[in-house]
Amino acid sequence: MSIGEITHEPALADLESIMNDCWSTFLSNIDPLEPVAPSDGSAYAWSAAITVSGGWQALVLMQFSRAAAHAVAQRMLGMGADEEPVLDDLNDALGELVNVIGGNVKSLMPGPSQLSLPLVAQGTVSTSLPGRTELVEATSLDVRWLDEPVRLSISVASSGA
């Protein structure tokens, strides 16, 4: 195996399936996710990440526009559309969403592996894998939900890092 070669990555179809399952279960079965071309990322205001370590090492990252992040918190917490989620609501809801999606991605990959606790931040999450210095984005899925951008990406440790 050459230095820098990506070891394992989930298929795009698997990411679509996992995201659709999570959305229809926890968020909405009437507002579908619409796959779109990648954007420049400037619309993303919130990030949620979880790392997988063990038999498979990866970073699962979700990014949301402000409106998408607020809608996730409102729906997962059963809030009214006119209720504004506070910081704690956003941290908890986005963290749980990336936890469930990360757990399902992990289940498709070589194991046994462990999930970290989720990290949520306004802007960009800063995290890394234990003992690794280089992450390579392996798969990503850009969607629009409620006409707002959401992105799921999987980065894996390059084998030589």
Partner: protein, 127 residues
């Protein structure tokens, strides 16, 4: 009937609470296994505990082993509700005394099916 919902995520507790409340359960919530044990020690007698695996202070697996080791709580039904889906972990939880295992994300129907399998009478599936 009473359900003790044990998850460090307030969001997940909220989702589970909405489902089982629609089914006629009263609910108590705990943010980790130790809080749940404290509730049992305090006299709470739930029909079922819905238990996450990964939690701070005391994880769900430890909670299951602690409950199963105490004869006072032998009639409490234990159901894991978790993202941990590796076969080895499912076997480990069931061997420790969990009755059922639900993997997130779950539908309300999946929770109802499991409760029926466990012999817990439920009213109807929430819309």
């Amino acid at each position: 009937m009473h359900a003790l919902i044990i998850d460090d995520s307030r969001t997940m507790r909220s989702i589970l609470r909405r489902i089982v409340t629609e089914l006629g359960f009263e609910t108590t919530e705990a943010g980790n296994g130790q809080e749940a044990l404290d509730a049992l020690e305090g006299g709470l007698v739930p029909s079922i505990c819905l238990i996450d695996w990964n939690m701070p202070l005391m994880d769900g697996y430890t909670f299951v082993t602690r409950v199963r080791a105490d004869p006072r709580w032998r009639d409490v039904t234990l159901m894991m509700v978790t993202t941990e889906s590796e076969h080895g972990q499912i076997v480990k939880a069931l061997a420790a005394g969990a009755h059922e295992y639900v993997i997130k994300p779950f539908t309300a129907d999946a929770i109802v099916d499991k409760l029926e399998l466990l012999g817990l009478t439920v009213s109807e599936v929430p819309a």
